[in-house]
Symmetry: C2
Subunit: 406 residues, 2 copies
């Protein structure tokens, strides 16, 4: 976790050092902090953010005030210090109180505090391979015990933290059965159903019309590129395999993307912008296609890489190009990317073991399967990203700290 390093003892020794300017048309509240920084707040933003029980529901934590009823040029009759914060009496008599802590946490001009987060540990396959071959239970391999996860939320916190750090984690000493595995998944959140069903168990056959259910080799990919919302987590538990093959290669997609950006910035840009259509149409009664064609490397509005969508098998015929020249550039970029993903340096490959399920962040870590022979029974499930992240944050930071930044 990257703790925020700002000294939280920022309340001023001398309240008189807090300078107020009148909130009038386009007026702002100005708060100078002990560390020399100064925050400015618009009147309408403050009124809209009023934390009183009339304006902000104390249980549901939802806004009650009709924001559009606030005049854009709202002004205050009085602004006074009051204990740990500032009380504002608005024209029309409504009173709002903001603690200095709240003002500091929510300062936007400038932003002063960042919500807590987990620092990702990016890895290459080589890093993990060397540890794993010496000892699959080495400290370098992200893992938790089944019992600790089932025992209490601290165990769930430890588990979800490993997933957030490494993008995957093993769960040691799990009972080799379907029911216990499903209960394990539910420690994070409910199972996400899809057109294939919910929690699944299968022995290799072609009853489900998707290559994932065959015995063929599957190159590394992310699941559900055909969904608007790709599954966030996937868990695999190998219950039995009488036969050979069927190893699991994993690749850290964020690490691979970092390498792509170094090696070939143009390819990185291409894969971050060209929209790729996808479909799941093997079952007679569905043809799932996402709401939009999304690029392979997806970034949030701040430009941070947050999601990898890569499954060449599920890619539909590409007929939407900005220019015909984009065609060759896309294939060129995809080849550079694919070469990184399949290089020995990047692939961490291992044999799943009964009793040691593996869960991974499907938005970051790509998975595959080598070809196999014999009877092989697996079970597993998807969990939504939103529910997983909620659980991750609450178990690791505590409810108070998570709510602090709403």
């Amino acid at each position: 976790m990257i703790r925020n390093l700002v000294n939280r003892k920022y309340l001023l020794g001398n309240p008189n050092r807090i300078l107020f300017r009148a909130i009038s048309t386009n007026g702002k509240l100005v708060v100078p902090w002990e560390d020399g920084k100064t925050s400015k707040y618009h009147g309408i933003w403050l009124r809209d953010s009023c934390q009183c029980r009339e304006c902000h529901h104390p249980t549901t934590l939802q806004r009650l005030i009709n924001s559009s009823s606030i005049p854009l040029d709202i002004s205050a009759d009085s602004i006074t210090e009051n204990g740990d914060g500032v009380e504002i009496t608005w024209k029309g008599d409504h009173k709002s109180f903001y603690t200095y802590e709240w003002l500091r946490d929510h300062s936007y001009d400038p932003v002063l505090v960042e919500p807590p987060s987990i620092k990702e540990v990016l890895w290459t396959g080589r890093d993990l391979h060397n540890s794993y071959v010496k000892d699959p239970y080495s400290r370098d391999i992200p893992q938790v015990e089944f019992d600790e996860v089932m025992r209490d939320d601290a165990g769930v916190g430890k588990w979800t933290r490993k997933i957030a750090e490494y993008g995957f984690a093993f769960v040691n000493n799990t009972p080799v059965d379907e029911k216990a595995t499903e209960e394990l998944c539910k420690r994070i959140a409910f199972v996400r159903p899809t057109h294939y069903g919910g929690f699944w168990k299968f022995t290799s056959d072609m009853a489900k019309a998707d290559l994932a259910y065959s015995q063929e080799e599957l190159g590394v990919h992310t699941d559900g590129t055909y969904f608007t919302d790709q599954p966030g987590l996937q868990l695999f538990h190998l219950l039995e395999h009488i036969g050979t093959g069927g190893e699991t290669p994993l690749v850290d997609g964020f690490k691979a993307a970092e390498r792509l950006k170094e090696l070939d910035p143009q390819a990185y840009t291409t894969l971050s912008t060209v929209p790729v259509p996808a479909h799941a149409a093997g079952n007679k009664d569905v043809c799932i296609q996402p709401a939009d064609s999304f690029p392979i490397l997806m970034h949030d509005h701040k430009g941070l890489l947050v999601q990898v969508r890569w499954n060449s098998d599920d890619r539909s015929t590409m007929r939407e190009w900005d220019t015909p020249e984009q065609v060759l550039e896309f294939y060129r970029a995809a080849k550079v990317w694919s070469d990184i993903l399949s290089s020995q340096e990047f692939v961490f490959q291992f044999q799943l073991q009964p009793g040691r399920p593996m869960i991974f962040n499907n938005l970051r870590v790509l998975h595959g399967r080598t070809g196999f022979e014999g009877k092989r029974t697996m079970c597993g499930a998807y969990i939504n990203r939103d529910d997983y992240v909620s659980r991750l944050r609450l178990t690791n930071f505590g409810r108070k700290e998570v709510l602090r930044f709403l």
Copy 2:
């Protein structure tokens, strides 16, 4: 439905009029059509799109060829006409066959054919109100019969088409019970579970910590702005109401956005770009927040409005602004938008009736509820957008036509 109007009898009377150029480095296949248009196809794109059983799985409809194994400058040994299409023998001996129909459907330079789609009928509240007060079963009100939906897929096709056209539809003569209502939902797809549960039934109380479960007036909004993937459809069935109030206002968000763009293009741009954070944190064990902060008006990569995210109650404190000046502009734009949404011209308001559930596209149509008194029991469910659209397209266009454009 906007049928594609291109004459599909485009196969040439005289095959000799088809001109081939050699596919060599950066070479392309060139196909002139009867209507005077000409399509060009890159060699690598053609090879990657090979439809043979070795390259494209006939059942799962997934790509089998490893795209990155294709040389960027792949060339052909021969190109010949063969019945209804073109056969290409690639250097290295693999043979591919493309029908003229497939080539025309997938032409990208230029795009010649558009997949079938349903034309949306945008409405104002006034349009529907005038019809509804005369007769709630007027032809102008989108509706289907419970029996026809339960009978066969043609009924489901009719229902989903109404939803796609109007953004909502009533289902007449539905049994007034929970079980039948759930079966009705499942005619489209499985119910989407959330942290609140799956198919729900409730009588007004505060057991679920969200304003939606209270008796307060709720302004029009979309549900689940705190999810990465907002629920696609929502169905409401009023089972019983002994009391007064509780009417349902609906607003066509796409029509309202069209008006906003006319009235105030700057406000439209603001609401299409400023990221808005959201949360659902009323229940002690969750704090759901989307993967990114999304704008209120969401567009696809072609710039088409595809989704409205609007729930002022669930909006978190906004601390991310490109510039401080954006603050006032956001509140100004949101006020113009909110005024349109609450204007009599735009709101279609009615009283739900037992036996006549209403389903709506939550990505387009905003809903609310006026305050009420008395005992009121509702049931309903969410359905994912992807599963709904799959069902919509398959029941309306048929599987062959849907698969044609993959």
